[in-house]
């Protein structure tokens, strides 16, 4: 009995999640479908953070920067040549300083030859964010006390990125990059399917990784890098590469996001957005497979449904919720759910063993 329930739990939740994804367009209005489509890339971002935090005990305050960076690159590629963005207009006012190499780069990205190849809009953000992530990763893991310094170094990355993005008129400066077309035509529903398919693929890959030997090694690297090193694994390199994989995934999330939202702004690179992403995960329960999905949907839904009615009180509620999660449900909503399930299971089985 007990064994059965335990074995069934994983496929059952997966099936339920799949069913929910499939049902969204059928039961909700087109607007709501579009809205949820906009949240799905955030789930990908949350997965990229879970890969670090849940599995490797690294907190990043800089993932917003990679999300934004990926979004900008994909956005420029998707939008193609355009003369009349705010950025271009602002450049009209430039004080004769000439065009920077960065402007040329932006132009190259949005030139007709390469823009509009949707595949590139995925590949390039992933590659660029991954490379930058690798660099940052090597910095972080050179220092001891990773748990303490990683948040601080990534915080610095976020601050620099947000400042620099704001400074660049070619990507819209403070006005952001807007008018980005979706990857697929056909309205919110097809955008939803497109994004959901990506999310599904990423989720399956993530689930497979977590169960694989590589996934176990990755968890071990966060648990005790010195021990793992002494077993012959180059933990520092492993973690730097894992960090890069995570930032690449964040870049991919950004690329997906601009295809849905049509817009990317520099504050996304800042600390507040990155912390917001951590909150999704905290609410979901870091380290659990469904935490990213559950966390993003719960917080965003709450935000969407409650913020208009409650306004300032909603924010207050969010803060209280966060404290409640930390104190009352350190393994997040998914943790609550599984201890609920365990309680149900105990009802079916005999009294628990005390020893062992």
């Amino acid at each position: 009995m007990t064994v059965h329930l335990r074995k069934l739990r994983f496929p059952a939740t997966t099936a339920a999640a799949l069913l929910a994804i499939a049902l969204v367009p059928a039961v909700l209005s087109e607007f709501s479908v579009g809205l949820i489509a906009q949240w799905l890339p955030l789930v990908v971002l949350a997965i990229s953070l879970d890969l670090l935090w849940g599995e490797n005990r690294i907190i990043s305050f800089g993932h917003g920067a990679f999300f934004a960076g990926g979004g900008y690159v994909a956005g420029l590629l998707l939008r193609g040549p355009q003369s009349d963005t705010t950025g271009a207009n602002y450049a009209l006012l430039g004080e004769g300083s000439g065009r920077s190499t960065f402007d040329a780069l932006v132009d190259a990205l949005s030139s007709p030859q390469i823009a509009g190849i949707p595949l590139l809009a995925f590949v390039l953000p992933v590659v660029l964010c991954g490379l930058v992530g690798l660099l940052v990763g090597f910095v972080i893991f050179r220092i001891g006390s990773v748990e303490i310094y990683a948040p601080l170094v990534t915080l610095g990355v976020g601050v620099i990125a947000a400042t620099v993005f704001l400074k660049l008129p070619a990507i819209g400066g403070s006005n952001g990059l807007s008018g980005i077309p979706p990857y697929v035509g056909g309205g919110p529903t097809s955008v939803y399917w497109f994004t959901a398919a990506w999310l599904l693929v990423i989720y399956l890959a993530y689930a497979a990784f977590r169960r694989s030997r590589a996934g176990r090694r990755w968890r071990a690297a966060g648990d005790d890098p010195i021990r793992l090193d002494a077993l012959g694994a180059d933990t520092r390199r492993l973690r730097a590469i894992g960090f890069a994989a995570s930032t690449a995934l964040a870049g991919l999330a950004g690329a997906l996001y601009v295809g849905v939202a049509g817009f990317m702004s520099a504050d996304v690179a800042g600390v507040l957005f990155s912390v917001q992403a951590l909150i999704w995960l905290a609410v979901g329960g870091p380290g659990s497979l469904f935490a990213p999905l559950v966390g993003v949907l719960a917080v965003q839904l709450g935000q969407h449904e409650l913020s208009e009615q409650l306004q300032e009180t909603w924010q207050l509620l969010l803060g209280v919720l966060l404290i409640a999660v930390v104190l009352g449900a350190p393994r997040g909503l998914t943790g609550l759910a599984s201890s609920g399930a365990a309680a149900v299971q105990r009802l079916f089985s005999r009294s628990p063993h005390l020893d062992g």
């Binding site: 968890r219 010195i226 021990r227 793992l228 090193d229 077993l231």
Partner: protein, 268 residues
Amino acid sequence: MKLELLPDTLAPGPGPGPGPGPAPALAPTPTARPRPRTRREGGTLTCEGVSVAFGPTVVLDDVSLDLRAGEVHVLIGPNGAGKTTLANVISGHVVAQSGTVTLNGRFLAGRPHARARRGLGRKFQIPRVFPRLTVREQLELAAPRADIGPLRTQLDEVGDVPGEELSHGWRQWVELQMVLLQRPSVIVLDEPTAGMPRSDRGRLAERLEAVAHGTFLVVEHDLDFVARVADRVSFMHNGRLVRTGTFDEVTDDPVVRSAYLGTSAHGR
């Protein structure tokens, strides 16, 4: 009546028999194990003129050590003599100011993982296990293809317990198994018997004998155990390697007696 130890369970030898008598010896009277043992394969490790200082504190002073293939070499010495530091130099956790380490005839350098890949195993003095992996997962991580059949009884007990919930002694055990399962050619064990019950020490000694391939450098304070496993013993004192020889030769040395063994040597 006070409890007495029965030394003959450890090794044959003279000693007070059971029953009332004079106050029993506090420490057992260790005796070196019978030798020679059948020779086995194993790596070689040489330290040449290793010196380490932290700021003004000299911790290792021109230490040279030579491990023969297949032997069990035990390092003893007072607390703070530099034994762990020497182990750290070998495994790459401490960078020596001068001196070289050679493994199987080639210089050993680089970070710990590179040394581990060349066949160097290491158990730490403070046991290190992976908190979130179960015991079974830890062993599998260390050596995916190793045969864990002989460990079945222990795994039945703790196989599914995550590292963070292990008691101190079990942590020692798990870490030791991780290292041994990897079958390194040279294995550095820092106080492997700490926290182990007596019978397990005996079993560990048997295990070390039974290992088919491997050279051991063991740091130990349990003379009983040392006597049983050591082919050779080196004595360290104040950062210097003072003396190397058989167990009896070293423990008979008056310097070793006064600096390390204390009154426990009186029983001999």
